[in-house]
Amino acid sequence: MSTVRERSVPRGAAGRGTLWPYLLIAPAVLGMLYLLLYPLARAVLISLQDFRLRQLVLGDADFVGLRNYRTLLGDPEFWEVVRRTFVFMAVEVVAIMVLSTLVALMTERLGRVARTVVLSSLVLVWAVPVVAATTVFQWLFHSEFGIVNKVLTGLGFASYEGYPWFAHGAAASGIVVVLIVWQSVPFAAITLYSALVTVPAELYESARMDGAGAARVFRSVTFPLIRPIFMLVLSLEVIWTFKAFVQIWVMTRGGPGEATTILPVYAVQTALARQRYDLGSAASMLTVLLMSGVLVLYFRQLFRQEGEQP
């Protein structure tokens, strides 16, 4: 590892001591190997075995090759779940990115007090335990006791008297999306805001001096500068909404019907509830593959950027 040939030594001090970078990443690499890769390998193994509660308790699982994968891929319900996962992800990510960019831009322009208030409330949202937040959303939309129905009825929409939100697939999905967006915007907005404040103020000034409008300043000055962080947040949100689990599990358990069953919910339903750990593992592996597919574009961009960087 240590005898790495430095090809074109870049400017700056980077060439000094070739051992250093490896020492610096060693703890992270070791951690990933033992705490992530090793369990992942075991999970892959499980997905290739006949592994249920009995095998978990007694050991001695049989190797069955790709049978679990064949079972999943041959199941039309699985493909329906995949489609649904992508739809949920797309809707949520677009909403999150648009809203959080607006909030970040707004926050940067606020006075000190207002800024602290906005940031604090964002953090508070983020800090609320997921279970508590989900329960509160359940209450707000409760058919008999919820304030949403009460307000809607009060506004003259009599048809919302006792309207059962969680009985209708579309309504339940809508609430799930709102909840996930609500919980995701704070992270995205705070991170984007952190990126915005590192943009030197002079750049704005000079752009404005040139007579650029707000939209143009954003497009030609601000956005290019925060682009790396923006792309980062975007791809993280893709991953997280793809993996959104707790909210849906607590709120609807994937129902009504299958209306809110996305891949991770499906995997857990299969693994923990039906105790088909083998099928659940296989579903997770497929989830990871699909997610990587979505992010291939981001990886390519990341690489190009890495290549350009000094």
């Binding site: 978990l56 409760h142 058919s143 006792g162 059962p164 009504p256 509830a273 105790q275």
Partner: protein
């Protein structure tokens, strides 16, 4: 230098954390005085604090060599937790498990088989609704602990005002008529949430149907049988006589609390629910009565789901003999009588039913228990409950979908889940 203090802080916290971990690891086993530590898991609300203390003292007196350590477990995530315990190498010695859950754990091979000691425990008199689900492939893994089933809890003052005599409600027709009379003018005739599938199950059994029936080598969902459809229709009529939410179950919100705060004439719950109602609203003290769920005819109460718990011993538990000693005591006649009185349970043996005759709630429950049923006895049933297509079926029908096709679909889901071979 903020970062330096940060680094220092992190070092401190880390070392403190590690130290705390290793020290807590060290105290994990043994009572330290030569006695055997016996770990027992009971579920929240399965025993009162007072009963627990009394039992602990009594048991340790009778077995001076055992240090009994009862841990109360939470319902949330209990399935995973029991799984983790059974598969681990340091499991607790005795675990309380819901009667319908025993089969799946037994199937996994993680439980101790007590078939040859059933006689010693007086197994001949056990309640069928506890003993049968506690067995798997002819072997007894779960030892009946206690049972409870649903009754109608009603407001005596509201019944009086409407001029209804609760003791005379013996049939469904009388029940519906009385409830209709109670409903209206700010009072709910009955608060029945749309997804109380245990209640629906009772109606299904009344009609001669079942949730799933054995057919050939497998199981088939039975919600679409004519009897089960009639049961759902009756549920719909009853549910309409109050403001029970169509899309949630009896826990969301807790129905006892709804009864405590509102003008609710009846709920269907285990008798212990009345205590919660009184606790939340002391004004209702002495205004709550009980009667068994009415049946189709006056000579037989309505069928009910026998809920309850069994005690199991993990195969990997370190102290098998001591565990058995505990089970013998806790499921023995003396403690069973005390437990039934303290907690308003049906005792685990039919011969002990007399112990609770004085308590009106438990008496109503015991009357209903005579027509008790269990969920289909297959290890896969737990998987059905985990996703529960029955609840969704009920909501679908109550919100106006066609009962026939919704039932067919729910039955198909049940068939599939039960059929995913084990």
């Amino acid at each position: 230098m903020k970062y330096r203090s940060l680094a220092l802080l992190s070092a401190l916290v880390l070392s403190a954390g590690l130290a705390a971990c290793s020290s807590s690891g060290g105290t994990s086993d043994g009572a330290g005085d030569g006695r055997t530590a016996l770990d027992v898991w009971l579920m929240r609300d399965s025993v009162s604090a007072q009963f627990q203390k009394e039992f602990e003292t009594g048991f340790e007196k009778a077995h001076p060599d055992i240090d009994l350590r009862i841990q109360i477990q939470e319902w949330e995530g209990i399935g995973e937790k029991v799984t983790a315990a059974l598969a681990g190498n340091d499991a607790p010695d005795v675990i309380e498990v819901g009667n319908t859950q025993v089969a799946q754990y037994a199937q996994s091979g993680g439980l101790t088989d007590f078939s040859d000691r059933v006689g010693e425990l007086g197994g001949g008199d056990w309640l069928e609704g506890l003993a049968e689900p506690g067995s798997y492939e002819g072997k007894q893994y779960g030892i009946p602990y206690y049972a409870a089933n649903r009754v109608v809890i009603h407001r005596t003052d509201l019944f009086e005002k409407a001029g209804i005599d609760a003791t005379r409600i013996r049939t469904r027709e009388q029940w519906i008529a009385a409830t209709r009379k109670l409903d209206g003018g700010g009072t709910q005739g009955i608060y029945l949430p749309g997804q109380n599938w245990y209640v629906l199950s009772g109606f299904v059994w009344d009609e001669g149907g079942d949730l799933a029936v054995k057919s050939g080598g497998g199981w088939k969902g039975g919600l679409d049988s004519p009897g089960a459809l009639r049961a759902m229709d009756f549920y719909r009529q009853l549910q309409a006589l109050g403001k029970g939410p169509k899309d949630s179950d009896e826990a969301q919100p807790p129905q006892a609390e709804v009864m405590a705060k509102g003008q609710v004439a009846q709920i269907i719950a285990v008798p212990g629910g009345a205590k919660v109602v009184e606790e939340k609203n002391p004004e209702l003290k002495g205004k709550l009565g009980f009667f068994p769920i009415p049946g189709k005819t006056a000579d037989r109460p309505g069928a009910v789901f026998t809920g309850g718990s069994d005690l199991v011993v993990p195969a990997v538990a370190a102290h098998q003999e001591e565990a058995f000693a505990l089970i013998r005591e806790l499921t023995g006649d003396a403690w069973q009588k005390k437990l039934a009185v303290a907690m308003s349970y049906v005792p685990n043996k039919t011969t002990l039913a007399g112990a609770v005759a004085d308590d009106p709630g438990t008496a109503a429950m015991a009357a209903g228990a005579a027509n008790g049923h269990a969920t289909p006895n297959t290890p896969q049933w737990a998987a059905v409950e985990a996703k529960n297509p029955i609840k969704e079926y009920m909501t679908a029908v109550l919100t106006g979908e066609d009962a026939g096709s919704a039932a067919a679909e729910a039955s198909r889901t049940i068939t599939e889940t039960l059929g995913s071979d084990s």
